[in-house]
Point group: D2
Chain length 294, copies 4
């Protein structure tokens, strides 16, 4: 089934820059490779973690191509193609399909609050132009729009919209999706601190930047759930929750970048206006990472 | 340990009235007996479900005494003694202790938003006057105050405050409590639709009015968690979620009253301004109860 | 017209207690007299400022009677009679009418969120038992319920509900009331920091505890608006805004009590859980009062 | 003084497209001319109304140049140059200055919530590259970030940040700005339904798309305030409030486009995902415009 293309841990790479804020493709491939070899079940370039909205068209295309080249079919690829205009969204969705993505992820980015009808037409216009599945992504914190369960249900009537990524942080949304949509639609958790609750509620996968820093714990949580071992899952979850909360609170690209540095991994530079974490924040992260790894 | 006095399903009885809005103690005892024989692990009179704030001092005392008489030691009793003034809270806490309550539950009711210091002093003043444990109750929706995790931590430094009931509906609060307070403090879930997530997060018990209508499912959820069977817990949870959501959305006393009527159980009258559910709401509840019981 | 009973500055007295937390009627009368002689156009005992919800039935009645005795018809009296149950609300509304109140103020206090129908029936049940006008009071921060403009319109269909006090702090509500209800209904501002905007929007009066501390500035603002002098109104408003913000932020009874002390006026004690302001808060208030009076 | 470059009514043109979603510069100039001849005191191309975020670099530059050409110095021009990255913001700010803008408007667009430090550095980096003044724009609804009064104060320490546009819809923010910053900084209202309150609070100007539809009423409100005639201002405000609310609720570009059509003015096409208003919405707008013009 299309909706089981992705499951388990779907890892989000960062997009590293060089000193002059140019995308560093070579370093990107190295960081991506870390995610694959550490056992992630899928990868998702050009997500929020990958600062997709800060990249121009050429840069996005270079990242997509580099991902396909590096992955070499080892895991399925989910490419973020969201854009403020429908025309540019279609453009990048077609590019991703042609390049070899397994699916595309689309959040209805908005400057002006879009009506439900505008959002449905937006998804529909893109869906008509590609053959691969679409993961509809709900995240009011970054998109400025909160797609209601009712709207998501409408969007899921579009044939190749087969997956939902839920990042409101409200577990009731997942209960609703599971209850209303049953097994015909896979839903994915995009809210890191909800990882345990979401799996308990029946999420098919977890979309997360955490494998850049703690892949073993992320994968162990999924495995415990697969083994129906709630006590083990709870124990593993509480080992990583401080890290999950920290990276969400500080912003994923900045926090992952700082974490890589602590781990001794080259993570490149950020693109402005993003700035490195403050010294005291880095110390806090250092402390959290040491506790996590004990 | 004091903090394991209560565990599992702590059932909240309604307070039934007669036609003239007088408390009907005889009927109260019958409704309470249903909760005990159906297997609840504890009972909690004078909660929100029992419309405690709508009762005068004499009525509250009559309910407390009737509960002790009826329970006859079969399960522990948690009596709600919250009041706007510190003086009245102390009065009812002492009464409950003397009558035979195992513990009292206290929410910092507020008309004026209380400062953290005022809340701590309020709990402290009550705690000094009784020997039984206190369950601190956080529920911004009814109290008008949201006690921060930091404040709860301060309150827990008071020796006989040993339990927390969390009803914000935010699972992250429970993660925090579990992580920060470890096993020294028991926390209880007071948000019905969070029942699965809360148990997954390590809640010791579930404070709920649902056993008035679906005791078997409530207890079965707890049992599945005790057996470490996540898949079974998930299945049982999704069977009852529509009912849990309904009773919360419509208000517990009104919804329980309507549900009892559908089940053919006499539930008495409500006290105004509370009114019976509308006809269409009763039909919806009827439909939900039929699905639940299949 | 009934709806012009009250206009201008409607002053809210505090309820002072003695050392043992008993209501101090003698001191209450002195504090009330200050409000009258300083020029307030009406007085409103048993409001939030008067900690009405913290008083028992006998105490409320004593305050009502003391107010009528002291005022001696010099200004109209608006008595707060809100209660969680409909029965007690009726009881106090009838008492107020008999004692000589010009009108009663009713907020739909709620523990359980009331439905629109429940709120309308509540007002209707009270209105049927008295002949004096009712001011419907909307204040989600203290009542836990936010009456929508649509609901307020329904309540205003009850014949003796002729005034609305709006305390959401959202000026758009007043725009709506003025636009929808025209001149047939008087609306009053209950949000101190909105005083200028509300008068600019057409509010008939300002319900405020500020005259306990700065009556001249409160009255001067109203007078400037009456004279259609916007620039003067703006100037006077900015002179008092820091004080208005302070008393709202700290809670009216506590802030007024502290302010009286600074002004050298005996204000009695608070009833617990309310505690006096902290030392640093009192210093801040002192600084604000000195600036205001220059 | 630099901060009085703009005052009164600063009108926001829409950006019209042709059938194929290309920017229609000729039509843009005609629509801009309407704003100038109807008496607006300034114009602001590339605002939210002008769907700036939906335009690519070349399109933005064409609009800027067309504005300068058309205005011919008759009114000052405020060009929107906000961008997700600091580098692109600088690029467009420099372009606007060179083209002849009187000032630029910058909102800290964010995908990732920016820290206060990141925002200050962003403004500072742009400010250093241009000589014309900057209007800092706060609008959490479109930017996803709410700049606190404290942060705005920091930004205003940058020499050529001399104006603030406030669009939170909270009049208290303007009170704070006026009180804290005094007369050294001009603040502008960007929330249409707050027009009366904002002028009453001392706003120097009103940034609005309304002059596309009802320029006479917008200008009359400003004139009444200038004449210190509060009653007249109130009367004129209530004549236009329904229109102001409608265009905000429906989204400015879509609502202005529909309004132009009703007025018989060619407004071009929208760029997708934006869609024309629904039929019933157009009827409502028609009714409102008829009432307004009587």
């Amino acid at each position: 089934m299309e909706n089981t293309l992705f499951k388990g841990i779907i890892a989000y790479p960062i997009t590293p820059f060089d000193e002059k804020e140019k995308v560093n493709i070579l370093l990107y491939k190295q960081l991506l490779e870390r995610l694959i070899v550490s056992g992630s079940h899928g990868v998702a370039p050009l997500g929020s973690t990958g600062v997709m909205p800060y990249l121009n068209d050429e840069e996005k295309q270079a990242i997509t191509e580099a991902t396909v080249t590096q992955v070499k079919g080892r895991v399925p690829i989910l490419v973020g193609v969201s854009n403020l205009t429908t025309e540019r969204t279609i453009y990048h969705a077609k590019f991703a399909e042609k390049a070899g993505a397994a699916a595309v992820m689309i959040i209805p980015m908005s400057y002006w609050k879009l009506s439900d009808d505008e959002i449905v037409r937006h998804y529909d216009a893109v869906a008509k132009q590609i053959s691969i599945p679409i993961m509809a992504y709900n995240n009011p914190a970054t998109a400025g729009i909160d797609m209601s369960p009712k709207l998501l249900k409408r969007i899921l009537e579009i044939p190749n919209v087969t997956m939902i990524k839920e990042s409101t942080g409200d577990i009731q949304r997942m209960h609703y999706l599971k209850k209303e949509l049953g097994d015909s639609v896979a839903f994915y958790n995009g809210s890191n601190p909800l990882a345990l609750s979401a799996f308990a509620a029946g999420a098919t996968g977890w979309c997360t930047a955490a494998p850049n820093l703690i892949p073993e714990l992320n994968i162990a949580l999924y495995n415990a759930v697969q083994k129906n071992d709630l006590q083990e899952a709870q124990k593993i979850f509480y080992k990583q929750i401080d890290l999950l909360r920290f990276i969400v609170e500080k912003g994923l690209p900045r926090a992952v970048k700082a974490g890589l540095q602590i781990l001794g991994v080259e993570g490149g530079y950020l693109r402005k206006p993003l700035q490195p974490l403050e010294e005291h924040e880095i110390k806090e992260l250092d402390r959290i990472l040491q506790l996590v790894n004990n």
